[in-house]
Symmetry: C2
Subunit: 221 residues, 2 copies
Amino acid sequence: MITAGGSGSRMGTELPKQFLLLHGKPVLWHTIRAFREAYADIHFILVIPAAHAEAGKAILEELNLTAQSVLVEGGATRFHSVQNGLQKVEPGSIVFVHDGVRCLVSPDLIKRCGEQAATRGSAVPAVASADSIRITDEQGGHQSIDRNRVRIIQTPQTFQSNIILPAFQQACRGEFTDEATVVEAAGTPVFLIEGDYRNLKITRPADLLVAETILQERAAQ
Amino acid sequence: MITAGGSGSRMGTELPKQFLLLHGKPVLWHTIRAFREAYADIHFILVIPAAHAEAGKAILEELNLTAQSVLVEGGATRFHSVQNGLQKVEPGSIVFVHDGVRCLVSPDLIKRCGEQAATRGSAVPAVASADSIRITDEQGGHQSIDRNRVRIIQTPQTFQSNIILPAFQQACRGEFTDEATVVEAAGTPVFLIEGDYRNLKITRPADLLVAETILQERAAQ
């Protein structure tokens, strides 16, 4: 499942960031192609606002994926979008939930997530932090936390369907910022695996620049 | 004070990352030039391993900063390097402690740090996290923390000399990963200010790519 519901407000652009062009193709095209490269017969659930459904459909057509794809309308929050998408999941499958704007995800990372989730029930990619981190409190204060204990969470967050489907039958809560928190709240621990520093999320103009550079570098190889 | 003590081990290169070329100049050259742009008469303390002192000196000469600079040998840890450098600080001054590999720091951010530290005693730039964050525990578990409470810490960490100098008379502790933690351990709260997403730390090859792209973009403006 690819979630492509962002509004682009942080980019300062009219066009939602998943449709900005990278190396001549929309961000979302690169994302979807990475999954096709990992598993040629993977089934795509593209969760996308109605206003962008046509653009999403065009990308799937260009990648010859129409026959193995379904479009689902996004919800008010990420939780609701994923909940909508999960209605199209087949029992007994492995479900990858991936940010449409993480277009540099590698087929290798996707396959590692798939293998780990098949064995352990879940796989959530995470990387270490190169920077010191502080946590603020409600009094306006803040405290340092040991950098070695910090994991920066990425996607695809990957689960066996029998774990993620019942978890999303809960009511939504404010702390559900990703699928891992939803699954944990349902009582199932999630497993972290090593992510990839290049699997960045396109949220700001500088991210688009680095993505462009990395894609050019890959194309030249 | 510019700390330029890294070994480059994470870059997979022989050359320490502060000497890698960006837009035709060493990373460290860009860093030092940003401070010169912010304050033309600023006094530089360059903390650098003895093996790289000549290369550091050459950068200062090229930027016509020899008369207002001093080189200090790095220590075994960041704490000891900064402690060495602080011996050259004049009483009554504002001290900026900056990672040599944060070469995209803007003169604007440097000046905001200087102004805030002059008023409040300290200024530590920090930005929000675009990603979900988890904290691991000693049992191999991990838990999600509210992303809105996370601050990613940058440099220059900026202090009045009468705050940072006594703080560094403490014995070093493992949790001293930056100057803010040292100052807090001495009993003085530190103030966070809004950092800059582009003020990235060159720690991995992908960072070098984005820095190159951003510098090229700035040069074209």
